[in-house]
């Protein structure tokens, strides 16, 4: 019994790291630009398809597929920001939200057109390999995904903390006007931020491509999951996104064990409602919206 619980919790922690990466993308975009990327789930699904095709065509290990997804999605996010999102950054919140709902409809339509509604089973050899450590038996695919996600989160954290660009990004997040005064290139910071956010979503998608069947309809679930994760941790907080991801991953795994599978999907929302009501800014949320 104890080993069952340990296994479930370990599985939750592993997938929670990937959720954390998805949420990190959303939270970086929000923290710097104050826009909520409602099309985040679509970006995760783009990542899943990129992972699926890269592995299928070149038969490379999953972390190389993730690298491909990172590059493609960074460019995608950068272009999307400079071409579209930029024009709405200073509009009222509800207009931004509506534009992003539009983008999400647009992307999910494009996904449907390109790949059709049917799920593509991505199960490879990798999906069935397991590793035993003491009482734990873990998916090899999950371990790889979690390890890559964890490394990336750490690298991104260090980059934002110590690099010159990271400093300007945090400066823009803290005080946009102040950033302009000291000569930050705010448009470029915003474009790169959006690129990084999209890349986080894409990489997370590629990493979980062996675990989820690629399917356009997954997008809504991932968007909502990212919202829940981010709100639980606090919108705009780096550590909060990670903590939120781990919380949701573990809570989901436990709910699936204790209750019915439908409880597993409902639990994040219940958690979100409770947290929004008790602690509206999440664990480490930004003071102001």
């Amino acid at each position: 019994m104890l080993s069952l619980w340990l296994n479930v919790i370990a599985g939750g922690v592993l997938i929670g790291l990937v959720y954390g990466l998805v949420a990190l993308g959303l939270t970086i975009i929000f923290g710097v630009m104050r826009v909520v990327n409602f099309a985040h789930g679509e970006m995760v699904v783009f990542g899943i398809y990129i992972g699926y095709w890269t592995v299928r065509i070149w038969d490379v290990p999953i972390f190389l597929a993730a690298a491909v997804a990172a590059v493609v999605m960074f460019v995608f996010g950068y272009l999307l920001e400079t071409l579209v999102v930029k024009r709405f950054v200073n509009r009222p919140h509800h207009y931004q939200f509506i534009v992003f709902i539009g983008l999400s409809l647009l992307f999910s339509g494009v996904l449907l057109m390109s790949f059709g509604p049917d799920p593509r089973p991505t199960a490879s050899q990798l999906s069935f390999q397991t590793v035993s450590v003491g009482p734990l038996t873990l998916d090899w695919a999950r371990i790889q995904a979690a390890a890559t996600a964890g490394l990336l989160i750490a690298a991104l954290g260090a980059y934002l903390k110590y690099s010159a660009f990271g400093r300007s990004l945090r400066g823009a997040a803290n005080n946009r006007l102040g950033g302009l005064v000291v000569g930050l290139n705010i448009p470029r910071v915003y474009a790169v931020t959006f690129g990084i956010g999209a890349a986080c979503a894409g990489v997370a998608g590629a990493l979980i491509s062996p675990l989820f069947d690629a399917q356009p309809y997954l997008a809504v679930d991932f968007t909502l999951l990212a919202f829940v994760t981010v709100i639980v941790g606090g919108l705009g907080s780096f550590g909060g996104a990670l903590l939120g991801g781990l919380t949701i991953g573990v809570a989901e795994a436990i709910a699936a064990l204790m209750f019915t599978p439908s409880m597993k999907t409902a639990l994040p929302y219940a958690l979100l409602i409770i947290i929004l009501i008790l602690r509206p800014r999440g664990f480490f949320g930004a003071k102001d919206i």
Partner: protein, 343 residues
């Protein structure tokens, strides 16, 4: 002087509205089945759009979970009708009361704890999704298999709110007319001014003595109750409801498209927007099916939303009004010049 011109433009507005709805009634009398069923959906979403419009366009609270209230209304009607044989009229009333209560609780909880703006919008999504999943796992309401209550063909019973497609067309038309007139009346009432004041500046409204907290709860609750009525009728028209179809994100998005495209906060906007967007959605869906591109309607919706916010942020209807005003302006300009000359 000012007053009479206001009254004149008032009569003009109500007259124009009555003309539009009379024309729609004639369309309903003459058109074929396809047009009737499409326009029924357009009119129902006009009404639902009005309910959403009341909340954001006038009250300033963004909801992306209106499917919750739509679903509550539809389920109240369906369950009372199927399980207890109660007339949908009672079901609509009960659904409105329940949804109004749920909306009030949600608003009370979140505004009490300063959950506002984006956080409130996310809370509405979470509540709707939570309810959708719960209804999917709840056997009493049919679970994922949903509920079927198609009217037997040939029935026509106003007391049970049952009839053919044309009957529902006129029900939807009546609802849409009530929605447009109601929005117009509310937005000119005391509440309308209070709500717009708190939408534009919460603190200033409070400083003037408006209890904005109560009014926010009130506007959310009224919006929720009216959405439930629209949802109850939508369920009757479809004849079958499933948690994923009546409480899903897609409904929440469909509800907001009409007012956003037509014009936020205006009485006619949701009608104009629904008239423009929903037929486009259907046409693109049909085109996509024939071309083998299943996502085309979704792409069209997304593109329309982005383009409208980009180029016509106030929506189509205010743009039309401005255009009309610009044509009339020269005459008015002359009159005011004359007046100035007299002085």
């Amino acid at each position: 002087m000012q007053r009479t011109s206001d009254q004149a433009s008032d009569t003009k507005r109500w007259g124009a509205g009555a003309l539009v709805f009379a024309a729609l009634a004639m369309v309903g009398g003459m058109s074929n089945a396809y047009v009737i069923s499409l326009l029924t959906i357009v009119l129902l979403f006009t009404f639902l759009g009005q309910s959403w419009n009341l909340m954001l366009g006038i009250g300033g609270q963004l909801s992306i979970g209106h499917a919750l209230f739509v679903g509550i209304g539809a389920y109240a009607v369906a369950i009372l009708n199927i399980k207890y044989g109660v007339t949908p009229w009672i079901g609509l009333l009960l659904g409105a009361v329940i949804a109004g209560f749920v909306g009030a609780v949600l608003a009370w909880l979140s505004f009490r704890f300063e959950v506002r703006g984006i956080y409130f919008a996310l809370l509405t999504i979470a509540a709707a999704e939570f309810a959708r999943i719960m209804f999917g796992g709840w056997d009493y309401v049919g679970g994922m298999q949903g509920l079927f209550y198609q009217a037997p063909s040939g029935t026509m019973d106003l007391g049970m709110l049952r009839g053919d497609a044309r009957f529902y067309y006129f029900v939807a038309l009546a609802l849409a007319a009530i929605g447009v007139a109601g929005t117009e009346l509310i937005s000119r009432s005391y509440w309308g001014y209070v709500w717009r004041a708190m939408r534009d500046d919460d603190e200033a409204a409070r400083a003037l003595g408006v209890r904005t907290f109560r009014h926010k709860v009130l506007v959310v609750s009224i919006s929720a109750a009216t959405a439930a009525i629209g949802g109850g009728v939508l369920g009757l028209v479809q004849g079958a409801i499933f948690p994923d179809s009546i409480m899903g994100m897609a409904i929440s998005v469909d509800v907001l498209i009409g007012p956003v495209v037509g014009g936020l906060g205006t009485a006619f906007g949701p009608l104009v927007g629904s008239m423009a967007a929903i037929p486009l959605h259907h046409a693109m869906g049909a085109l996509g099916d024939s071309l083998g591109l299943p996502g085309l309607n979704s792409v069209a919706y997304g593109a329309v939303l982005i383009l409208v916010v980009w180029f016509l942020p106030d929506g189509i209807w205010p743009a039309i009004v401005r255009l009309y005003g610009a044509i009339q302006l020269p005459a008015r300009g002359r009159i005011s010049q004359l007046r100035k000359a007299e002085e």
